[in-house]
Amino acid sequence: MWDYSEKVQEYFYNPKNAGVLENADGVGDVGAISCGDALRLMIKVDPETEIITDARFQTFGCGSAIASSSALTELIIGKTITEALAITNQDIADFLGGLPPEKMHCSVMGYEALHAAVANYRGEEWSDDHEEGALVCKCFGIDEAMIERTIRGNSLTNVEDITHYTKAGGGCNTCVETLEEILARTNAAMVEEGVLDAKAAFVIGARPTPDLKARKEAARPTPAPAPKDSPLAPGAPAPKLTTLQRIRLIEQAIEELRPYLRQDGGDCELVDVDGNTVMVKLTGACIGCQAASVTLQGVQARLMEKVGEPLRVIPVASAH
């Protein structure tokens, strides 16, 4: 069982400000049901003073997600928007007497929802800044801007914490190297700005923790030695297919998988084939959730079965 503080338990068992806020001035939705947690924050704002006069939430998620959402509403009611935006996810966690490290993403979800709700109130697109920074973690729909914000806001210096705080890297693992790059770059900038001790900063290759290496290995597409008799072994005489035949087979396999994807409210489209790399676009509920990693694994296994060659399926970001 999780080691939840008294305050987390109190805010979970008797959440304050739960439910729908009628005629809300701003609504922020973050998360997705497939990801295991989602939060809708609704706020009422006095247009004169910009004071948040009321806030309510609806949350799908675990105990700490519900407690964090409730804590957020308590923290922002009575504050001006400017004051509220100064609240960090760490403030939410502190208000609750701390969260287990694996659950820090619940506080980050609160932070993100607040910013989304304020953007909605102001008639801005909160998703705007997501567009230049493409999605880094396709499994949970996390982009670079959010990762950087979270690294800065919490002075994170290792990749595992990025996963704890944002979920990024917690699904298929293929983004771990990108996460390392972002972490190294952000930490370096923080050192320069004098907000992080140079000794604590993450530097690629300097301090590889064993754990991290294992994760990286797992993320590599092709496992080391393929068994001699596997049809996928490099040496095995594979029936030579023309590019067109391969694409047909791949399309056929995706077609067969479609009913399952639709069942979860998602879909998958073939974008391109480059050698052994198959690029697909996931849409609908498949984006932004770990459903994506499962989907990709499934698609990859099915395609290899059909084509009889080792293939790597990678997701590409939506066109917009």
């Binding site: 439910g19 939705d29 973050v30 049901i33 809708r40 799908f60 998620g61 105990g63 399952y260």
Partner: protein, 400 residues
């Protein structure tokens, strides 16, 4: 109020009669069975008696077909590794997508470290094995097939006796992880051809950290743990006498209660299940309801999350478990729910209730009394829930 324990597939309370049987082996009968004096020989006799109690529960032909281990996990590891060692020229394993991590993690490791090919056979939406895929995967390279008898999350049973026959057609060994089946359904190893079977003490009111691996007479075996000559050289290390005695007693009691498992316990489970499904909308039973353990019921509640359900149930004094991501500490819901393609709207809200002979009708009443309110409470908190039912509320996350 007396707590309601409905998590018996996780572990069971040790039966007081088991404890009583064990106690003398900590004090008066502390001897080492290998010793050349009467302290040892008495213990040796008791160990043999325990072996025979387990033999009876499994319907095995010989008591020496049993090897005592530290539990289900060790038994599973020993079985697979032995099969790979003894089946020369074969380097493929076939298993299912819903096995316990004791099998799946090992297979993953063997795939990476030894270049073993692992065929993971999928299941359908009810958790039934894809027999066609299984047949296709079998071949002259198959060293061992490992298929669980009963699934720990849903209770769904695999037709292991037939699966064993198919494995033998290609000369493969057949192992079954029967940790959840032993003591809950009748097993008769004399009348089938299963080569190896794993069981664990703590799932049948015995102690934790003790289990056994059945290896059919004539099946070649290589030990996992090497050292002294205990267990006829098949599992080294001085016997865990008190636990083995406890496991024996637990097996004897399980056999005596087998009838009750099929009748009274099944009836309790069925009443709980139909009661919840009738009272609560938008939920469904996962697994194969026509073909499963009599004690297990797994219900997926849509639009809410399992950990939150468990916490509220725990507060009301009811213990169960969930396949949700949050309870496992991982970020993904249970591999069993995913393998059955339970939609994500429900996979996160799946709850397992598992009974034992210690439960009674009052426990069921309490659940039927409390759980509908908990589900209702969490659903009103959920942004996806709509009172009017059918379609989930519109939700617009800002990324994508």
């Amino acid at each position: 109020m007396r707590p309601v324990y409905l998590d018996n597939n996780a572990t069971t309370r040790v039966d007081p009669r088991v404890v009583e049987a064990m106690l003398p082996f900590f004090t008066e009968q502390f001897g080492n069975a290998s010793s050349m004096h009467s302290f040892g020989s008495e213990v040796g006799t008791s160990l043999k008696a325990a072996r025979q109690q387990i033999q009876a529960l499994l319907g095995a032909a010989h008591d020496h077909e049993l090897i005592f281990t530290s539990g289900g996990t060790e038994s599973d590891n020993a079985a697979i590794l032995s099969a790979l060692d003894t089946q020369t020229g074969r380097d493929e394993i076939i298993t299912s997508a819903v096995e316990h991590p004791a099998i799946l993690s090992l297979c993953e490791y063997l795939e990476k470290s030894r270049g073993v090919t692992v065929h993971v056979i999928p299941v359908d939406a009810r958790g039934l094995l894809d027999i066609e895929a299984y047949r296709k995967a079998l071949g002259p390279k198959t060293a061992v097939v490992s298929m669980m008898w009963a699934n720990n999350e849903t209770g769904t049973l695999f037709p292991v006796e037939q699966l064993a026959e198919l494995a033998h057609e290609v000369g493969a060994l057949f192992h079954t992880d029967a940790v959840q089946a032993v003591g809950k359904i009748p097993i008769d190893l004399k009348s089938n051809t299963i080569d190896m079977l794993s069981l664990s003490g703590h799932k049948l009111h015995g102690p934790k950290g003790i289990g056994a691996l059945y290896v059919r007479k004539g099946v070649r075996f290589r030990p996992l743990v090497r050292g002294g000559h205990q267990e006829r050289g098949r599992r080294a290390g001085t016997e865990n006498t008190p636990s083995i005695i406890g496991l024996g007693k637990a097996a004897e009691l399980a056999l005596a209660h087998m009838e009750e498992e099929q009748t009274r316990i099944r009836a309790l489970r069925d009443r709980l299940e139909s009661g919840l499904v009738q009272q609560i909308g938008r939920c469904f039973v996962t697994g194969d309801t026509r073909n499963r353990l009599p004690n297990t019921c797994n219900i997926a509640f849509e639009y809410i999350e399992g950990e939150a359900i468990l916490l509220l149930m725990n507060k009301a004094g009811i213990a169960a478990s969930s396949g949700s991501a949050c309870t496992s500490g991982s970020l993904e819901p249970s591999h069993v729910m995913r393998a059955m393609k339970v939609p994500y709207t429900a996979a996160h809200g799946s709850i397992r209730f598992s009974f034992s002979r210690e439960n009674d009708g009052e426990d069921v009443d309490r659940v039927l009394d409390v759980v509908p309110g908990i589900i209702e409470k969490l659903r009103t908190l959920s942004p996806f829930w709509r009172k009017d039912g059918e379609k989930p509320a519109e939700f617009n996350p800002t990324y994508n």
